[in-house]
C-alpha cells in the first residue's frame, strides 16, 4: 500500500518543485542581468557554482545545512539565555524548544518536514539550472525588439516586463523542457534525502537488509521492482515529451523565429 503513497510523493514533489524552481530561476536570471553590481555577482555565482558541482552533492549538503540553519535561527530566538556553543566538537546542539520538528510531534509532522526540506533543496538546485536557461533566453530575444520598446519611450522596468519577458519563453522552452526531463530523472535521489519514495520501497519489498530471501515465498524480486520503475520512468518521460512538443508548437505561433515562420507558411 505504501508504495502507492510513495508514487504520490514523487508526483507531488514534481508538481511543487517545477513552479518553485522556475521562480528561483527567474529570480536568479533577473539578478544576473541586473544593473546593480552586487546583485549581478550573486546571480552569476549562484548559476556558476551549481553548474560546476554534482547535483547529488548539493542534495546531501543542503538537507543538513538547511535543517541546521532553521534550528539555529529558532534557537537564537527561542532560547536567548542559552550560553553553551551550538557546535560542541562533532555535535550540533540546540535547546529542546528549538528542535525542528519538536521531539514530541506526531509522525506525519516529521515526514512533512523532511519532504519540504527535500522540495526546497530540489528547488534551489534546479532553480540554478533554470536561471542558466532563462538567462540565455533573455539574451536571445532579438535586440531590435528591445530597441523598439525603448524608442516608444518605455522605461527599463516596462521594457523588461512587457517586451522581454513575454518573448523569452519561446527561446527558453527547449532548455526548460530538457530541464523538466532532468528533474523527472533526479526524483529517485529523494531516496537519499530520507524520504520514503519508490526507490526505497522497491528495495524494501524485494528483500530485507540482510538478504534472507527465504522469508519470502518468492525469490529475490528486487530486479523486477527496479525493472518496473525503469518502465514507469520511461513512460513518464515519453508522455512529458509529447505534452512539451504541443506547448512548444503553441508558443511558437506568431513568433519571429524560424519555426514560427515555418508554421506561418504552413498555415497559408
Amino acid at each position: 500500500m505504501s508504495i502507492y503513497y510513495a508514487l504520490g510523493t514523487v508526483l507531488l514533489l514534481l508538481a511543487i518543485t517545477g513552479p518553485v524552481a522556475l521562480a528561483f530561476g527567474f529570480g536568479g536570471a533577473s539578478a544576473a542581468r541586473s544593473h546593480i553590481t552586487p546583485l549581478r555577482w550573486i546571480g552569476k555565482t549562484y548559476i556558476a557554482i551549481v553548474r560546476g558541482v554534482p547535483d547529488i552533492a548539493f542534495f546531501l549538503f543542503f538537507v543538513i545545512a538547511l535543517d541546521q540553519m532553521f534550528e539555529y535561527i529558532r534557537h537564537t530566538i527561542k532560547c536567548p539565555d542559552w550560553t553553551d556553543p551550538v557546535r560542541q566538537g562533532s555535535d550540533f546542539v540546540v535547546c529542546a524548544a528549538a528542535k525542528l520538528p519538536l521531539g514530541n510531534a506526531p509522525q506525519w509532522v516529521h515526514e512533512t518536514y523532511g519532504f519540504s526540506i527535500a522540495v526546497l533543496t530540489f528547488s534551489i538546485v534546479f532553480g540554478a539550472f533554470a536561471a542558466n536557461v532563462l538567462f540565455g533566453a533573455m539574451r536571445a530575444v532579438p535586440r531590435g525588439q528591445l530597441e523598439t520598446a525603448e524608442a516608444y519611450g518605455m522605461s527599463r522596468r516596462q521594457t523588461f516586463w512587457r517586451v522581454l519577458v513575454p518573448q523569452m519563453w519561446v527561446f527558453a522552452l527547449p532548455g526548460l523542457s530538457n530541464l523538466w526531463m532532468v528533474l523527472i530523472k533526479s526524483t529517485p535521489l529523494l531516496f537519499l534525502l530520507g524520504v520514503e519514495d519508490i526507490v526505497y520501497w522497491a528495495r524494501e519489498l524485494g528483500g530485507a537488509k540482510q538478504p534472507q530471501f527465504t522469508d519470502y515465498p518468492h525469490p529475490d524480486w528486487r530486479i523486477w521492482y527496479f525493472f518496473a520503475l525503469l518502465v514507469f520512468y520511461l513512460c513518464f518521460t515519453k508522455v512529458s515529451e509529447l505534452v512539451l512538443d504541443k506547448i512548444m508548437a503553441r508558443l511558437t505561433l506568431g513568433q519571429a523565429t524560424a519555426a514560427g515562420e515555418r508554421q506561418r507558411k504552413a498555415a497559408r
Binding site: G52, P54, N132, V199, D220, L229, L230, L234, K238
Partner: protein
C-alpha cells in the same frame, strides 16, 4: 601527526593502500582534503574510461540511428531512448541486481557486481546513449555541400566517412559533447550511493565527503572541499576539450570557429 604523514597514510586510501581505518575523531582539515582527494581517483577513473570507450559506441549508435535500414535503426533508437529516458540512479540499481542474479547463475560475471566493472559498464552505456544522440543531431546538420563535394571527388563508403562525414560530425557536436563530458563526471558520484557497495570503505570523493559530514554533523567543510575538487576537474575537462575543439576547427577562418559555449539544451 603532520599533514605530510596524513597524505602518505590516506593519499591512496580509496585504492586500499595505506592506513586501513578511516579517521574516527579529531578530524583535521588535512585529513578531509586528503581523503576526498583520494576518492577523486575513482571519479576520474570512471569518467575517463567511460568517456573514451563510450565515444566509439556513440559513433556507431549515431550512424545506426541515421541508417535507412529499420533493422539497424530501430535498435539504436530504442537503445538511446531507454538510456536517456530513465534515471541513471535506477539504471545503477537495476544493473546491480541484474548482475547479482547473473552471478548466481554463472560465476563468470562476478567482477560485474563490484563497482569498478559493473558501474563502469552502466556509465559506458549511458554516456554512449547520450553522446549518440548528440552525434546523431550533428550528423543531421552536416552541410549538404560537404557530402556532395566528397561525392564529386570520388570518395565513397569508408573513405568518405573517415575523411568528410566523421570529422564534420565531431566538429559540429563538440560543444554539446563537452557538456556531456562534464555531466558524466558529475554522474560518477552516484556510483557508491546506488546498489554498488564500497568494499573496505574504498569509495569515491562523495562517499568520503558524506562520511565526514555524517561524523562531524558539519556539512560546511567536506562538501565545499568536494565542490572545489569538482570545479577544478570541470575546468580541466573544459581546457582539454577546448584544445581538441581548436584542433577540429583549425581549417576554418578565424571568425567562423565555433566557440565552446555551454548549451542549456544539452544538459542531461
Amino acid at each position: 601527526m603532520s599533514c605530510w604523514e596524513t597524505i602518505i597514510d590516506y593519499g591512496l586510501r580509496s585504492q586500499g593502500i595505506g592506513e586501513r581505518l578511516l579517521p574516527r575523531n579529531d578530524f583535521t582539515l588535512c585529513q578531509q582534503f586528503t581523503l576526498i582527494g583520494s576518492g577523486m581517483i575513482w571519479n576520474v577513473y570512471f569518467g575517463v574510461v567511460a568517456l573514451c570507450a563510450g565515444f566509439f559506441l556513440a559513433t556507431v549508435v549515431a550512424m545506426g540511428k541515421a541508417a535507412r535500414n529499420p533493422f539497424i535503426r530501430k535498435p539504436s533508437e530504442w537503445f538511446i531512448f531507454i538510456f536517456r529516458g530513465s534515471p541513471l540512479f535506477i539504471q545503477f540499481f537495476f544493473a546491480y541486481f541484474l548482475f547479482l542474479s547473473l552471478k548466481g547463475a554463472y560465476p563468470f560475471f562476478s567482477p560485474l557486481t563490484s563497482a569498478w566493472a559493473g558501474a563502469l559498464v552502466v556509465l559506458f552505456l549511458n554516456t554512449a546513449a547520450y553522446s549518440g544522440e548528440i552525434f546523431y543531431g550533428a550528423l543531421q546538420s552536416i552541410p549538404k555541400g560537404d557530402i556532395e563535394a566528397a561525392d564529386a571527388y570520388g570518395l565513397s563508403g569508408w573513405s568518405r566517412f573517415r575523411r568528410v562525414i566523421w570529422p564534420t560530425m565531431l566538429r559540429l557536436a563538440w560543444p554539446a559533447y563537452t557538456n556531456e563530458a562534464i555531466f558524466l563526471f558529475h554522474a560518477t558520484t552516484l556510483v557508491f550511493f546506488s546498489g554498488f557497495p564500497a568494499t573496505q570503505q574504498r569509495g569515491d570523493a562523495l562517499y568520503y565527503a558524506s562520511y565526514f559530514a555524517d561524523k562531524t554533523f558539519n556539512p560546511f567543510v567536506p562538501y565545499p572541499i568536494l565542490a572545489g575538487y569538482f570545479i577544478v576537474l570541470t575546468l580541466i575537462v573544459v581546457g582539454i576539450f577546448g584544445l581538441v575543439n581548436a584542433g577540429l576547427n583549425r581549417h576554418l577562418p578565424q571568425d567562423q570557429r565555433a566557440k565552446l559555449r555551454i548549451k542549456p539544451q544539452a544538459i542531461r
